[in-house]
């Protein structure tokens, strides 16, 4: 261990002083008030020179920005930039601490950040899930019954925004941050402080979105369409700031991932030996780094329209609501592949382990991931087929949308042929991966109806499209998210999760999920619009069925949470270093992984999928140079 002979057990109160989450929260609250009063006192009068400034909006926006700055300052994010400002040279790491405390600070260890992400995103995932339960409670009856109409819309909006905003980093946050350096044989991410920053910005964003309820909520759903956006209450600002911060976090996360994979691969790890998970992360990160800035800009324009009375989206004043729809979906379609692609990669990464066969068609799989990543830029207007934007371009967007099923099909054939003649073990992670095939197949096939303009006229904006993207995102991303938890958490924590409980969770969730969302296809086909609090009486039976199934789905997630926490906190069954007999390098390390990852930088001589091809080659060949670092 560390040779430093300092007192490792100072009293608790002493350990609470310093740059940590507590200080962050205190300064965050302080910064909020500074922003609020500062806006009233100084900023607003000077800006009002330019015209009609909305003081309340401005105060709230500056209050939240002040809160974010205060929060990050309290966590210690300003120390390094200020040191650089005074001329101190570059350094990679903050002062490292040991113990539980480092999970509540700015920590530059990628493994700590990964675990921070897992719990942080998990928290907001469950909040988003609770909102879904509230939605389904309201929809138990055709007329509007439980919540006031505005509250219902806020619940819908928070559910959508929380899931779309938080779960975009659902795989890249916890698992890529933790695993990519291990998989490529590095000891850190390229920019460790930025890595930590992405996490804490995301947490601040999540809290800001929650506080929308104190400001009247917001009526627009997660898309925030203009000009409804402009006329909404102040709660709308919380949505805008939330998503803009998420966008900043995503941009930085994406850049960090790409730089890490491009520059920090260990010797011998050529592009054709890279684990397919890393390829999936790379293709996702490209979308993040380039699409998320569009989101940040779009929402800034929306904020300008609300606060300083610009007219980007006001038709009567020279703006256009189409501008928002275009810009939002230029981001929005890559966004949904940011959600889907890591799922593809996880499935392809795990199938070889549990089928005991090499990944079939490695290059085809890579082409599939990159192809989806590329094509996703050219399909955005399929979200607005009936909006009247560029009616003459609809055949093109219909074609490009359908073309994207070709690279998606690559993932399917590679996965299927990997299973072919394998020796398949039905472990919990494998079950979740196999469920991905089923869910994503239904999601993909229903997408055919939405991509086809004539059919989309009826399915657009209905529960059909809602069922479609829940099959692809929940069925595609969330299922693989759980696969990743069951597969990698033993490595991350050193604690083995019970297979029996995991399988109960899987079957419960899988059946409840399908029972919830499959009927929604029918409901949509029968004409129920999304986000409407009322529906036709004849659809009540189906809706009640869906609601009850949704409650069962919610309970399955609670079951997971309870068993997961119970096993980590109380059972603590130690995990073997390589519980799945994987050939991937992260499973050759001790569990949990030591702080420095590798004694020596490893040397790669093959991809990790050589099942049936003889013993795995050594990563530490005798006499090899010590590697970089």
């Amino acid at each position: 261990m560390s040779t430093m002979a300092v007192d490792v057990h100072p009293p608790v109160w002493r350990r609470l002083i310093g740059f940590n989450l507590l200080t962050g929260v205190i300064l965050g609250v302080g910064g909020w008030y500074v922003g609020w009063f500062g806006a009233h006192a100084v900023v607003a009068p000077s800006l009002s020179f330019f015209g009609d400034i909305d003081f309340n909006e401005l105060s709230l926006v500056l209050a939240y920005l002040g809160g974010v700055v205060g929060f990050l300052t309290g966590l210690g994010f300003l120390n390094y930039p200020l040191a650089r400002l005074r001329g101190y040279p570059s350094s990679l790491r903050e002062k490292e601490t040991q113990g539980v405390g480092r999970y509540f600070t700015l920590c530059t260890d990628h493994k700590v950040v990964g675990i921070q992400y897992l719990w942080g995103i998990g928290l907001f995932f469950f909040i988003g899930g609770l909102n879904a339960m509230l939605i389904r409670t309201e929809l138990l009856r055709p007329a509007h019954q439980v919540f006031p109409a505005g509250t219902y819309l806020t619940i819908v909006g928070v559910h959508g925004s929380m899931m779309m905003g938080m779960m975009t980093s659902g795989i890249l946050g916890p698992f890529a941050n933790y695993l990519i350096p291990l998989m490529i044989g590095a000891r850190r991410m390229a920019f460790p402080r930025i890595e930590a920053l992405t996490f804490w910005i995301l947490m601040a964003a999540g809290v800001i979105l929650q506080t929308t309820i104190f400001w009247g909520g917001f009526p627009t759903g997660w898309t925030g369409y203009e000009p409804l956006n402009i006329e909404a209450y102040q709660g709308m600002d919380c949505y805008i700031l939330f998503f803009a911060l998420v966008g900043i976090s995503m941009t930085l996360l994406g850049i960090n991932m790409i730089v890490t994979i491009v520059t920090m691969r260990a010797p011998g790890l050529t592009w054709t030996r890279l684990p397919i998970f890393a390829w999936g992360v790379l293709s996702t990160a490209i979308l993040m780094a380039l699409a998320a800035p569009v989101l940040v800009c779009t929402l800034s324009l929306a904020l300008f329209d609300r606060v300083v009375q610009t007219n980007f989206f006001v038709a009567a004043q020279g703006g256009s609501s189409y501008l928002y729809e275009n810009l939002f979906w230029v981001f929005g379609h890559p966004e949904v592949y940011i959600l889907a692609l890591p799922g593809f990669a996880i499935v392809l990464e795990m199938l070889p382990v549990f089928a005991r066969k090499p990944l079939w068609g490695y290059r085809l799989a890579v082409a599939g991931l990159l192809g989806v990543s590329l094509l996703s830029w050219f399909v955005w207007q399929h979200h607005i087929f009936v909006s009247g934007i560029n009616g003459d371009l609809r055949p093109f967007y219909m074609l490009s949308t359908e073309l994207i099923s070709i690279p998606t099909g690559f993932t399917f054939i590679c996965g299927m042929m990997t299973l072919w003649r394998g020796n398949i073990r039905y472990t919990t992670p494998m079950l979740f991966c196999l469920a991905w095939f089923f869910n994503f197949l239904l999601g993909g096939l229903s997408g055919v109806f939405l991509s086809d303009v004539p059919s989309d006229v009826t399915t657009h904006g209905s529960f059909f499209s809602m069922a479609h993207f829940h099959y692809t995102i929940m069925g595609g991303l969330v299922f693989t998210f759980f696969a990743a938890i069951y597969y990698w958490v033993p490595k991350m924590t050193g604690i083995q999760l019970s297979e029996r409980l995991g399988k109960i969770h899987f079957w419960w969730m899988f059946l409840a999920f399908n029972s919830t969302f499959a009927p929604l296809f029918a409901i949509g086909f029968l004409g129920q619009p999304r986000r409407a609090v009322t529906y036709a009486k004849s659809l009540q039976f189906l809706n009640d069925w869906v609601s009850v199934s949704a409650f069962a789905l919610g309970l399955s997630l609670l079951f997971f949470l309870a068993t997961f926490v119970y096993q980590l906190a109380f059972v603590k069954k130690p995990a073997e270093a390589n519980p799945w007999a994987s050939r991937s390098i992260e499973f050759q390390l001790p569990s949990p992984v030591p702080v420095h990852n590798f004694d020596r930088i490893p040397v790669f001589s093959s991809d990790p999928y050589g099942y049936g091809e003889g013993p795995a080659p050594s990563w530490t060949p005798a006499g090899a140079p010590a590697g970089r670092d």
């Binding site: 560390s2 040779t3 430093m4 015209g51 390094y80 040191a83 650089r84 400002l85 005074r86 001329g87 101190y88 040279p89 570059s90 350094s91 990679l92 790491r93 903050e94 002062k95 490292e96 000891r187 390229a190 941009t251 850049i255 960090n256 730089v259 491009v262 520059t263 920090m264 998320a292 800035p293 569009v294 800009c297 300008f304 329209d305 300083v308 009375q309 610009t310 007219n311 980007f312 004043q317 020279g318 703006g319 256009s320 189409y322 501008l323 275009n326 810009l327 390098i585 001790p590 030591p594 702080v595 420095h596 590798f598 490893p602 050594s618 530490t620 060949p621 005798a622 970089r628 670092d629």
Partner: protein
């Protein structure tokens, strides 16, 4: 059986003294990507400009009297471009080993950039129209405001590179004390070996980015002032 990849008990010592080339390469690739992200960010304004211009909804794209002042715009952009140019020249000096000349050009570049920001701030109030005056006014204020923010960030970056050069101007080969930037007085070694050698890659990355951003500023000038 080869030796294990990692032994459980090692501390942070093994993380120290990383060769600086790794960080240098990361800086370069990261800057290219950040420039890409910046490009996509400003593409929104480009799109908004042409989109709203072609729609001209309610005849309010550019109502009478909304015309950005060309002299103000030209001065601002000229200052930005000159600052970027001086960074380029400073980089050439640094490459040639003329550290003193680089520092002189660096401080000029910093002054020019900051002057550009000041002129921009004053210039906003001398346009004769406000952000609420139609589509063009919206794009004008949005685009220049974000350009202001990005330039401000770049000036911060320039300052850090310059400050490091200045602080260690007499320390050509030696080392600053470890842990200074991390606020870690207990640190016995640098996490990056010879961190001063990172001034060069930092300057190269900065120069690339600042030139890129100045290019966006020129584009903005052409569209917002000249067209």
């Amino acid at each position: 059986m080869a030796e294990p990849l990692a032994s459980p008990g090692t501390g942070y010592e093994v993380l120290e003294n990383e060769p600086p080339e790794l960080m240098g390469r990361g800086l370069r690739v990261g800057t290219y990507l950040f420039a890409g992200g910046t490009a996509f960010f400003f593409l929104c304004f480009l799109f908004a400009f042409f989109y709203l211009r072609s729609l001209d909804n309610a005849g309010m794209w550019k109502p009478k009297g909304v015309d950005a002042s060309i002299p103000w715009g030209t001065v601002i952009v000229a200052l930005y471009v000159a600052s970027a140019l001086f960074v380029r020249l400073g980089l050439a000096d640094h490459v040639a080993g003329r550290h003193r000349e680089w520092r002189q050009k660096g401080v000029v570049a910093l002054a020019l950039g900051l002057a550009g920001l000041v002129v921009q701030a004053i210039g906003w109030s001398h346009q004769g129209f406000g952000p609420a005056d139609g589509g063009f006014a919206s794009v004008y204020f949005g685009w220049t405001a974000f350009l202001f923010l990005f330039v401000f960030g770049t000036m911060y970056w320039l300052e850090t590179v310059f400050a490091t050069s200045l602080r260690y101007r007499n320390t050509l080969t030696g080392q600053p004390a470890p842990g200074e930037a991390s606020g870690d007085p207990d640190r016995t070694a640098h996490d990056i070996q010879d961190p001063l050698s990172l001034v060069r890659p930092g300057l190269e990355a900065l120069s690339f980015y600042w030139t890129f951003l100045a290019g966006i500023a020129v584009l903005a000038w052409v569209l917002l002032y000249l067209v």
